[in-house]
């Protein structure tokens, strides 16, 4: 008995080790490539140990000057991360946490805004901003719609609710490629109408959009956000619906007996119970928006986000740019890794069943 359990434990650990290596090794390889000199990368026999390291690839991808000390950039990034972490930790411990969390978000904003003023940056920096804007907007819109729709569909059990859910599932099941051209042509039609009718080039009184001369949809961040929200909506609705199904109806009823309107019951009692679900769904939405390639490529010929930028700028498999491509991949993955590490506790809670039962 003892022998067999020990054996099976060894087997289990060995299997896990293989699986972890299987998923982590490609990333390690990419990271290694990003800090090597081209000659080591291009060597016929892979150089795994004892190579000279360099931040040249990162410098070349992000910055426009050649003689910048990458250590100062790293210190800048680490300092920002440390400040955000401290503010977040304080926020967790105090009663009114929102000022602290907003301060952390503010620090990120200021850091992103100051960065190109301290160092001269490449175009890729604009694409990072695009990525952030697209991701945050997609998350906000998707989650808001998903919360309301999921709640409604969880509580309403009529036939039309079932129809909506099935249609949403079908929409989700269709391949992404099926939507991209209709979206493109739809947006193009609207743009053509805006241009031909002159609406697109109206001068709106009082409203002045900086950097925008003509109103259009194609090749804007808005186009990407709208398309991503549309394809992601079935997922958020289904996720939230299943979480809301677990909230006992009596809790809302108790809130209403206590003197709350339906909306108050939703906002003050149900939503606070849903945080694990919101975080889990939000993270998945974030991954979708941040990693999207196809939609961005088609709907925004120049307003790229990072995945498209990497492929287009570092292009091909020539050994000259392969270190740069690796550096780009590592640097766009790291923010996601950080976010997931920060929220992994909630992620597990949100995905586990019964998270909201008292």
């Amino acid at each position: 008995m003892r022998r067999s359990t020990r054996l099976s434990r060894v087997g289990l650990h060995a299997t896990m080790l293989v699986l972890v290596a299987w998923s982590v090794l490609p990333f390690l390889w990419t990271f290694q490539t990003s800090i090597k000199f081209t000659r080591d990368v291009a060597a016929k026999k892979p150089v795994l140990w004892g190579y000279e390291t360099t931040a040249n690839a990162y410098r070349a991808f992000w910055l426009d000057e050649d003689d910048i000390n990458m250590w100062s950039v790293l210190v800048y990034i680490l300092a920002v991360a440390a400040i955000c972490l401290i503010l977040g930790q304080i926020g967790k411990r105090v009663r009114h946490s929102w000022p602290w969390f907003s301060a952390a978000v503010g620090v990120i904003f200021v850091a992103l805004w100051r960065f190109p003023r301290i160092w001269e940056v490449n175009d890729e920096y604009d694409f990072l901003i695009n990525s952030i804007v697209v991701t945050v907007l997609t998350m906000l819109i998707s989650l808001s719609i998903g919360l309301l729709a999921g709640y409604g569909l969880a509580r309403y059990t009529g036939i039309s609710g079932a129809v909506i859910l099935i249609v949403a599932l079908g929409f989700r099941a269709l391949p992404r490629t099926a939507f991209v051209l209709p979206y493109f042509f739809g947006a193009k039609e609207i743009d053509d109408w805006l241009a031909s009718s002159g609406v697109g080039s109206w001068d709106f009184p009082f409203i002045d959009f900086p950097g925008i001369d003509t109103l259009q949809i194609l090749d804007t961040r808005l186009a990407i956000v709208l398309a991503l929200v549309a394809v992601n909506q079935p997922f958020t609705i289904w996720m939230f619906r299943s979480f809301f199904m677990e909230v006992p109806k009596e809790i809302e009823e108790a809130a209403m007996m206590d003197g709350a309107t339906r909306l108050q019951a939703f906002r003050r009692v149900i939503i606070p119970m849903m945080w694990p679900a919101i975080i889990a769904t939000g993270l998945f939405t974030m991954l979708l928006a941040y990693n999207e390639y196809l939609f961005v490529r088609v709907l925004a010929p120049t307003e790229w986000t990072l995945p498209v930028a990497i492929v287009s700028l570092t292009g091909g498999e020539s050994s000259r740019t392969i270190t740069e491509a690796a550096a780009a991949s590592v640097s766009i993955t790291l923010p996601i890794v950080v976010v997931i590490i920060l929220f992994q506790k909630h992620l597990v809670k949100g995905l586990g069943a019964g998270a909201v039962k008292g």
Partner: protein, 405 residues
């Protein structure tokens, strides 16, 4: 429980209101009629228990009063206010749910204070009132804990606290004790009844447990299949049940019910119960003249278990008011001993869906007797059983209504 705290709550002034249900009916969209013309009036400060077997519509009735279900027809008044179309939040009614329905992300203090917060009562005042409610319910130690950290009994008290802190016009309680273990239930039963009496708030309490109903209610309303069977004080309900269902439902162990025939032999009355007969005293018929119409016809006769006694213990009982029996099961409870035996008479279905069906032969029914602890009977003994015939209950065989006049 702390009575001085209750006094504090009372001083703040409690609204007392009568509650009137006038022919309230609930029909679901699928045509199912859950409640049929329920009419009840609760006096100011009265504790009314609505009791019935599972699925009888009692929770639906409660939810209609709460405003969580629409009233299909009929009128609901609290005081002078007609409440049919009033939103739950505006009804000034507090409710304790079976599952407690506490807000898991809030502390106990926040849970209890939530109704006050919604009424925009200042923080100071809120804290004071929460503290008072917590003192009554002995929750002052738990105020900063989350519901998940509490025991079942404590959660139940938090749910109570959320109701009493508002001083509502009416309390609704939906089987609040059914998730507690037996011992705690007995204690909470007394506590809830005590708090209600002190606060004097009219209370409408729903349960399927007839013991809770009998011990807690000023008045008990028995309901079956959405139709009110009888509403009366617990003692009246027990002594004078209106029909077979109420007779069988109230009391534990429940009343033994058989088909029997009453006949007159040589100027004496006797009850033929299967192959045995019992002498029936004259006064039974004197007080129930209607019973004469049933002579030589089958009627339903009911015998409460405590109206049966081991003849060996009480030997001065008249011999012609005894039954022969063979003990099948004996349950010694200490203060008393329950003895089960069978009687060769057809049993009567009281219509309680929760009751066990009679097993085996149709003409043999089980009988439960509550003997004093002095009995020496053992399983397999053939014994004589005294029947207090003056306490027999009689019902019409077809309508199941009591024959009392």
């Amino acid at each position: 429980m702390d009575p001085t705290g209750v006094a504090g709550l009372c001083r703040r002034g409690v609204k007392m209101s009568t509650v009137t249900l006038d022919k309230i009916t609930k029909i679901y969209p699928n045509g199912f009629q859950a409640i049929t013309e329920l009419s009840l009036t609760l006096e100011e400060g009265e504790f009314l228990v609505l009791v019935g077997p599972s699925g009888c519509g009692k929770s639906t009735a409660l939810r209609m009063i709460a405003g969580l279900e629409d009233i299909s027809s009929g009128d609901l008044y609290v005081g002078d206010r007609w409440l049919n179309d009033v939103q739950p939040k505006d009804r000034d009614i507090a409710m304790v749910f079976q599952s407690y329905a506490l807000y898991p992300q809030m502390t106990v203090a926040e849970n209890i204070g939530f109704p006050l917060k919604l009424r925009k009562i200042s923080r100071r005042e809120r804290q004071e009132q929460v503290w008072q409610a917590a003192e009554i319910l002995e929750l002052t130690e738990q105020l900063e804990k989350k519901p998940a950290q509490l025991s079942g009994g404590q959660r139940q008290r938090v749910a109570m606290g959320r109701a009493i802190v508002r001083r509502p016009a009416l309390f609704l309680m939906d089987e609040p004790l059914s998730n507690l273990d037996a011992k705690l239930r007995v204690q909470m039963r007394a506590d809830i009844a005590g708090i209600q009496r002190e606060l004097g708030v009219t209370t409408f309490y729903v349960t399927h447990d007839q013991v809770e109903a009998m011990t807690m209610g000023d008045r008990v309303a028995v309901i079956k299949d959405g139709i009110l069977q009888q509403a009366a004080a617990p003692e009246a309900l027990y002594d004078n049940p209106d029909n077979v269902f109420v007779a069988a439902f109230i009391g534990s162990p429940s009343m033994n019910l058989y088909e029997a025939t009453l006949s007159e032999v040589d100027g004496h009355y006797q009850l033929q119960l299967g192959d045995q007969s019992l002498a029936v005293p004259e006064q039974i018929l004197a007080s129930r003249p209607a019973l004469r119409d049933y002579l030589d016809q089958p009627v339903v006769v009911g015998i409460r278990p405590e109206d049966l006694e081991d003849a060996a213990v009480a030997s001065d009982h008249p011999n012609d008011q005894r039954l022969d029996a063979e003990v099948a099961v004996r349950e010694a409870l200490g203060a008393e001993t329950l003895v089960h035996f069978s009687i060769a008479a057809p049993s009567v279905d009281s219509g309680d869906p929760d009751a066990l069906d009679e097993l085996g032969d149709e003409d043999v029914s089980r009988c439960t007797a509550r003997f004093s602890a002095a009995t020496r009977t053992r399983v397999g003994d053939r014994i004589r059983v005294n029947v207090s015939t003056e306490k027999l209950h009689f019902f019409d065989r077809r309508t199941h209504l009591a024959i009392r006049t």
